[in-house]
Amino acid sequence: MKMTPKYIKAQENMKPGKITADGFLGNDDRNLVDIITTDEEEFSLLGMDFIEVAKLMRKLMKEGLKGLGQPIIYDKWEIKVDEARGHLPCPFQDGIFRKCVATVKNLKNGKEIVYSELSLHLLAAHHFLQGKGSKFRLEPTLIKEVLYD
């Protein structure tokens, strides 16, 4: 995969201050395509599929919304969803998303992941899990531990 103008523009939009205060790249000095390609490989090694993972995360967020900001228990997870006013645009400029953040904890192993509507879209549509060191980075191994253990 090449760093096409689309990815160059998206990477520019991911810098701190463009869309969020901290941006989407953390302290990762790799380019966007390298970040995505590496995570795609790891997903594959872990036997996970982006579409299926996104579907489950979306379902959990939907359940969490019923708590109106308070944590709820759904199956083996504790889920808390917070919402703030406004929208965030996707750095790939293909949509805007509510500022809705889910914290999902696996009650069996205590591991948790935090994701927003936007990071869910980035995972599903662009296979982008954010750069290493980013507060909203979704490590593939952690996704597996939280969702499938």
Partner: protein, 369 residues
């Protein structure tokens, strides 16, 4: 000497190129004077063409809402265009619904004013101004909500309806290189014409709330644009059922104080304030005091997970559960009712469902989205 020749030549060529580009730009992008017809001749502007519609209008004192300052990343600056401005741009499409495209709604930050253009704007936009103010006080009301009070300087007075919001212009700070705008409900009453007050909750990673909580200081000069919004008290005699938690209290506080000041105390009002635990509660004394002087006003704070140290003896449960209980058994059914909600889409949708079960159809809300 010879070591300077190459850099001098490069500098000279660069300068010459810049001059050529400037001249060509001035010729090619010179659209001359262009007319903007607003609302079928109600207002006609003669402007210098070439700039985006959003910035052209703001330079004429007409402020279309924008959360991103015209960078094409919020989708808020939609305007109905009545004349041909060319096909939709790729930068507009992600923000448009099919219905909006059918009505020729466009993103005003993306379309440039290159020829005469006819547009339609809501009348209330003509009341919007840009203000300069000074941060008069910053107060922590909870661990994550700040009360921000701004004294207006230029203009020194604002006119708004209790319940409306303003766009706060956040200046560049730290590694944030560009200014940003974010909408916040005004929590002060309209009678305080020289000030605006906001209740701003820290959103992790948020550009604006990080600035407010970590960088803003008393004495800072800020700009804001407003007022906007159609969330305000309707002039009827219906009972008012208000629900808001967290920073959603802001427009509710403004409405309640405004009603009390203007003597609109014959209406029965119930305000349900939902929070998780004691540390999320604030302004309790303010509303308890209001209850003492306004017999028809009832303040019902409810905690969903009170902690032992809260020593809480008030209502417990999710706010929608408490609301339902009150509508079922406590709030009289002898008068028509209106709902006033401020909060997340999830909370609002849940409350609307409760209201529907009790036949309350007139529901007004400031949906955080």
């Amino acid at each position: 000497m010879s070591v300077f020749i190459a850099p001098l030549i490069v500098a000279g060529l660069t300068t010459a190129l810049a001059i050529v580009i400037t001249i060509v730009d001035a010729i090619v992008n010179n659209y001359g004077e262009v007319q903007i017809d607003i609302n079928n001749g109600k207002r006609v502007l003669k402007v210098r063409g070439g700039a985006p519609l959003l910035t052209t209008l703001s330079s004429e004192g007409i402020f279309v809402p924008s959360a991103c300052g015209g960078r094409g990343s919020c989708g808020a600056c939609k305007v109905k265009v009545l004349s041909d401005v060319g096909p939709y741009l790729p930068t507009e499409i992600p923000y448009m619904s099919k219905e909006e495209i059918a009505k020729n709604i466009r993103l005003s930050c993306q379309i440039k004013v290159k020829k005469p253009i006819k547009i339609e704007l809501p009348e209330e936009l003509f009341n919007i101004r840009k203000f300069k103010g000074i941060v008069e006080s910053l107060k922590d009301v909870t661990y994550d909500i700040k009360e921000v009070r701004i004294r207006l300087v230029e203009p020194a007075e604002i006119s708004f309806k209790a319940g409306q919001y303003a766009q706060l212009v956040i200046p560049p700070y730290d590694n944030i290189r560009e200014s940003t705008q974010r909408a916040y409900s005004i929590s002060s009453p309209p009678s305080d014409k020289n000030h605006v007050e906001f209740l701003i909750r820290l959103v992790p990673g948020g550009i604006a709330t990080t600035y407010v909580h970590k960088y803003m200081k008393e004495g800072d000069v800020l700009e804001l644009v407003g007022p906007f919004g159609d969330f305000y008290m309707r002039d009827t005699n219906a009972d008012m059922i208000m629900v808001a938690g967290g920073s959603g209290m802001a427009p509710i506080k403004s409405i309640l104080l405004d009603m009390y000041e203007r003597g609109i105390t014959h209406r029965r009002v119930w305000y349900f304030f939902g929070a998780r635990s004691g540390r999320d509660l604030y302004y309790l004394e303010l509303f308890r005091e209001l209850e003492k002087h306004w017999p028809n006003f009832k303040f019902i704070p409810a905690l969903s997970e009170p902690r032992p140290e809260d020593n809480w003896d008030g209502e417990v449960g999710l706010i929608t559960t408490v609301l339902e209980r009150y509508l079922e058994s406590i709030i009289p059914k002898d008068n028509s009712k209106e709902g006033y909600l401020c909060g997340s889409p999830g909370m609002i949708n849940a409350c609307i469902q409760v209201f529907e079960r009790f036949g309350i159809k007139e529901v007004y809300y400031d949906k955080f989205a």
